[in-house]
Symmetry: C2
Subunit: 439 residues, 2 copies
């Protein structure tokens, strides 16, 4: 498939530039899932396209990477809202999750993927259960994902890591390499030392990243100090885990030493500002982390603590929350924010050529409408992009050269069917949970 996207304003994306670069009257040429040209239209090479997409009035930019989520939790949307975290988990979430089935996970993943595509997310990093079902949903939808089987292990019963290894062997690099697999120990508090040591050695053997929750709540932090006199990052470091690629979700309760450690080790911080506020976990010191040179990528977390998968909300919240908390409006820039939503995550997923619109990169990109009243006038595009844009401005979402969403239509998913199936599976799930409660 050869596609031309023309008549666009474009940003190739951003890595460490102070400002987001933009180019008008641009064109992108895509061959077999790869960008073969991205630049001025007048300089484009001759190219016979199977399809030409007129992007007039839109901005082409790298697709968003939702770097921490539990996609099937769409089925649990809004459950236990406004409960304290321990009651939220123990009374609302866990008693229901126990009754998940393959069908439920598949339905919830399809719904989540649909929602993400609609709001311009092209890849996500997930930790959950029934992961074969998630992998099949990713494969069939055309999306990109890094998938990990969550390990909760208080008694070393999971120390063999069998489901994790099986997932790696079956799915790593599957579906045209759109699927990658990670090891996913839940957190230092919910796994034994033995499991974490096995994880480290599996990361070495299989060369896959490790996805783990780190210091999400004060309880996590205090528990780790009490258990062994080390902060969670110090403990992970002592185990040698930080010498491997680690994707650390949340990182809310961090000391200056923790920040320095993660900066030095290149550990990627997965920041979930909506979820951290909503669950009353706190505010991660992202401004300090960026200043220390940490890698920061954005995520929504699961829907049950958000309650949606629209990463544009995180894009707006990340810089403004840091401004409001530090009382300094200069601390996080639009360029740092867009990098956190695109290129930093793309790299952390394990792809060397993803997250930028450049020749030789994978064609994961979106078109964002610029004509809404709320985007006009355009006095400062990077500021409009971060602070004015809506998820609903996404006109087109493309993964690996294939259009998956465009102008209200999905090419691989039937929206009515997906929503219906998710509603049905959610209601069956709550019925099973209720029956177990009554029993």
């Amino acid at each position: 498939m050869r596609t031309r996207i023309t008549n666009i304003l474009m940003t190739p994306g951003v890595t460490d530039e102070a400002h987001i670069p933009f180019m008008d009257d641009a064109e992108i040429l895509i061959d077999n899932g790869l960008i073969v040209y991205a630049g001025r239209r007048e300089d484009a090479p001759a190219f016979e396209a199977d399809e030409t997409i007129d992007g007039k009035g839109a901005l082409a930019m790298p697709g968003l990477c939702n770097m921490h989520t539990h996609t099937p939790m769409t089925l649990l949307r809004s459950i236990g809202s406004d409960l304290p975290l321990d009651r939220w988990l123990n009374e609302a979430i866990f008693p229901v999750e126990k009754h998940l089935t393959d069908e439920a996970v598949r339905a919830g993943t399809d719904l989540g993927i649909m929602e993400m595509l609609r709001f311009g997310t092209t890849s996500f990093n997930d930790m959950y259960m029934h992961m074969d079902m998630e992998a099949e949903a990713v494969r069939d939808s055309g999306m990109r994902a890094l998938l990990g089987h969550g390990v909760v292990d208080f008694d070393e019963s999971c120390a063999d890591l069998l489901p994790n290894i099986a997932l790696i062997e079956k799915w790593n690099h599957a579906a045209d390499d759109r699927i990658r697999v990670a090891l996913a120990p839940h957190s230092e508090g919910a796994t034994t030392q033995k499991v974490l040591e096995k994880i480290r050695s599996a990361a070495e053997t299989y060369q896959v990243p490790v996805h783990i929750h780190v210091s999400e709540t004060k309880l996590d932090y205090d528990g780790s100090i009490k258990r062994r006199g080390l902060t969670p990052p110090q403990y992970l470091d002592q185990l040698g885990l930080l010498d491997y690629p680690v994707l650390a979700a949340h990182c809310v309760w961090f000391t200056d030493e923790d920040i320095e450690l993660f900066a030095r080790k290149g550990t990627v911080i997965l920041h979930n500002p909506v979820s951290n506020l909503k669950l009353a976990s706190g505010v991660a010191p992202i401004a300090k982390m960026l200043q220390a040179g940490c890698k920061v990528a954005l995520g929504t977390d699961g829907v049950a603590s958000n309650n949606n998968l629209n990463l544009w909300e995180e894009i707006k919240l990340m810089p403004m929350l840091q401004k409001g908390i530090t009382l300094d409006p200069t601390v996080v820039s639009p360029a740092q924010t867009i990098a956190a939503a695109t290129s930093v995550g793309a790299k952390a997923l394990g792809y060397s050529h993803l997250g930028l619109l450049r020749e030789g990169y994978l064609a994961d990109l979106i078109l964002l409408d610029l004509n809404g009243a709320h985007m006009s006038p355009c006095n400062d595009l990077e500021s409009n992009l971060v602070y004015s844009a809506q998820g609903s401005d996404v006109r087109m979402t493309m993964v690996q050269g294939k259009v998956l969403y465009r102008d209200g239509e999905f090419t691989t998913l039937d929206p009515k069917l997906v929503v219906e199936r998710a509603r049905k599976q959610a209601s069956l799930l709550f019925e099973r949970a209720q029956a177990a409660r009554n029993a």
Copy 2:
């Protein structure tokens, strides 16, 4: 005009209920701008409608009230983003605002009204300049607004309040009473005592509310303490102003005594969480304020510090920010939040029958689509409403019985023309400002 809205899920809105009430299979009957019936469809009286709107799959709810904004600042969208407040005002905003014209204010107001209607706002509370132009835009658009001519007065030169009185005499209760007028001294720091005393006496004479910025920044608070040893609320109280209906914007830097004072006086707090974060002003202690019995209503503030007019962002941010800051997820409920976005503001605008869907109330309402992937499944509608919904879910916006927006179409505004005119006026405005800088 007689309108039937049928086949809907409905909330009559919320005042001080613990949960938002919902009713399915409902119908609303509207005659000449007033709700004559809102309840179960099967119990609806006989009614000959000129138009019937099928609201299947949508929630009917009271329209949103944007209780603090400076609408024409749409023209200044994204200007000076990421500057500290003093430089933002002195280098970015003031040098441009000096060159505003009637045409610019009209164009900016039209754009802002269009954006608000699209996202379900049916009324707004505004303080700005060239207010005749704003009033004409409100009149022509069909929207509802409380308008105040902003008084900045460091030298008593504005002490005659002439533009304010003229605005009241010309526009209060105009356009079928859709327009109301307020007195709008900018803040205690930007007005002399003499002006504030005149304001108090004009509020008495004309029986209009007073709209004023109060303790937005630490600088405001410190300045007031330094000038006279009183916090801004204490000073306003000493002047006797709090015995009149006062709409106090921001209220970020508040002592417990300030909170108690506003609760006792019934002063309405206009909370702008996005703007307060973005300008690095801080976080208003809204949880405490609600607990003390204060009236809290939501606003976007001007676009230049937001950078849009989508009040759904404030709806989500208000409760989650309080949770994240207090580390208590129970502090602000969905019902309190929706009240802050609708009924509290509606009452503060000065209308006794606005902000609820009840017989005898003004027909300001919206239809919100419930079918999006991000709104499914609907395990908890009030939580979906506050945390999952998008401004783009608004399907229809009606003010005083007249449909102003529906399914992408505006009935009183030409979107292309409005956007074009705003772009042109913005660019002329910046040219004038630049020419003055060069001169």
